[in-house]
Symmetry: C2
Subunit: 388 residues, 2 copies
Amino acid sequence: MKRIAILGSTGSIGQQTLEIITSLGSEYKVVALTAGSNDRLIAEQARKFKPEVVVLTDQVAAKRLSEKIKTETCLVKAGPEGQIEAATWPTADLVVMAQVGFSGFEPLIAAMRDGKTIALANKESLVVGGEILERFGLLNRKKILPVDSEHSAIWQCLGSSPLKEVRRIYLTASGGPFSGFKKEELERVTPEMALNHPNWRMGKKITIDSATMINKGFEVIEAKWLFDLNLDQIEVIVHRQSIVHSMVEYIDGSIIAQLGTPDMRLPIQYALTYPERKNSPVESYNPFGQEFKFEKPDRNLFPCLDLAFMAAGTGGTMPAVLNGANEIAVEYFLTGKIKFNDIAGIIASAMQEHGLIKNPEINDIIRADRWSRRKAIEIITRLTGKVN
Amino acid sequence: MKRIAILGSTGSIGQQTLEIITSLGSEYKVVALTAGSNDRLIAEQARKFKPEVVVLTDQVAAKRLSEKIKTETCLVKAGPEGQIEAATWPTADLVVMAQVGFSGFEPLIAAMRDGKTIALANKESLVVGGEILERFGLLNRKKILPVDSEHSAIWQCLGSSPLKEVRRIYLTASGGPFSGFKKEELERVTPEMALNHPNWRMGKKITIDSATMINKGFEVIEAKWLFDLNLDQIEVIVHRQSIVHSMVEYIDGSIIAQLGTPDMRLPIQYALTYPERKNSPVESYNPFGQEFKFEKPDRNLFPCLDLAFMAAGTGGTMPAVLNGANEIAVEYFLTGKIKFNDIAGIIASAMQEHGLIKNPEINDIIRADRWSRRKAIEIITRLTGKVN
């Protein structure tokens, strides 16, 4: 029996995780569920999966939830502390981290301190916290199972190969909906256009991050920490078909790639069933008649990719600034307050104005995140001439 | 220190194996070399690599060889018994089987009986002998390291995964030089055209086998025995670029593929250095700007593929008949005595006329091989109206 805590259960990855747990059957048991404020959906999930604890970070929503599931035996907790409690829940064998953005940072640190095995979908927590986890000796790579399709692919391609046999990895990128566009065309991009990802069914935040390609930049940083690589061992390669999910090149010139239908349930299930594989509801990929292409990413069209490499190279609090400013910019873009092409500029300005702290403490990271968000809003206000 | 015996050292795989051993350095030592009749080349190899024994199956050539290397300390042996001696050479840790055709059968049986670890490039020995090795309990899969690029790919993709997690494998085929031809165009194919393989540098016999696609059929049978698969788990897929060397699909829908520059030195080196990987002289493959395509094989244009599936399904002595008739047909095609399109018909007729022996003994296999060769010559004589 595997006992699972899901942080971010009402999001896209959270819901698909529950779907996979249902399909896997009685060997998998949900013990904790957390979300932000969606009391309606998490109540439904609690009734169906009967966890030991349910958490909403929003206090008001948590009250409504208590009312909704008062006939259930599970505990209801509220606030960010509740997330930490769920991340270290005593009966959980595996903690699925599927929150959005920086909110995953403290739960990740707590879960790693607690020695939990983590199925990590929240890449931002490792983007901002990878360095600190490594420095504090908390980055136990055997206990972080990647859920991102690219990192799951690398993980599957690595098998039990030692790091010294790896020459480089190729992180594949679909290129998002705007691959091949002209810079001017990107000026007219609406949130609806950006949310229309060609290959993947994902949450809103990551879909916009995919469209700017900052998501691939985050993945580069995530890969660096997950697999203990140097940045110059990580190549981003555009593969619009999204069938090859990533590749590893070994020192003998052999490349191992992982392929499949673009369906997040596949990497989710692998993280749950690891080290075994089990039958899955994911459709078998039929390669006959197919064509794969591989291209260089257009770094001029998607400057966010270089910003991510820069932040990773700088280290310290800089990745937290990259991420914080991006979270704000995405939010403002989604509500129509800034243009798509403004996103990179906002992040770049925040990074330029940041007073870097090397070898930061946890609180320095949290402060850099907050500073970056305030700074991004300030930049947006300057830019649009409005106070939002 | 790994001590290596190379059977078939003057052929394409044998020479490339020696090249890799030179590049790997002093941790690898050649202890035995064997060939057919090329005394000039094997003498050179003996002088350079200083093995303990050198074998030529041709008795006359072996005499010339003794003369040529009389100042060396190594033993010279002659005849097919010499091959068996080399295959079970006491100081050899690894036996590279790189002979051509049926001549690998008895050395393979002997080496497996002796508990040797084998780097297998001679697929025909497993095509004709896989069933018998399995039935006699001699097919120790942990001790056969594949050298064929496709089987090396499957082996690399499998890692330590258990068989029950494998749904199917895709054996890639370049399609040879005549992929996309019309049946009538194949009528006019010369040996020179058939020997001009688009992607791989290989020996003559396997290059013709590639052109008829019987090579892929042999590989299907080889894969069945190497990886303990059912025939219906093995798909042949045409990939003219020859970059993806084969793929494994798991029960969860995940596909692992192995890619790289089409260079036999890569799988050869992996078999030598396994379980480690080491730097190799093979050029790193650059995927940027590349395109891969996958198609169904044209079973109408290349009937040899179905003949191989039929022989494998029938089992017993039938694969030996498939192989024996093919060896003769290829020989006659290479000397211009039959047409390219005759090859499949000759094999099919031999298979039809064969009195199958189920659960054969070793001698039944040897007799079936001889019968098939005589029968093929008889069919060719009927066909061409000449006695060759």
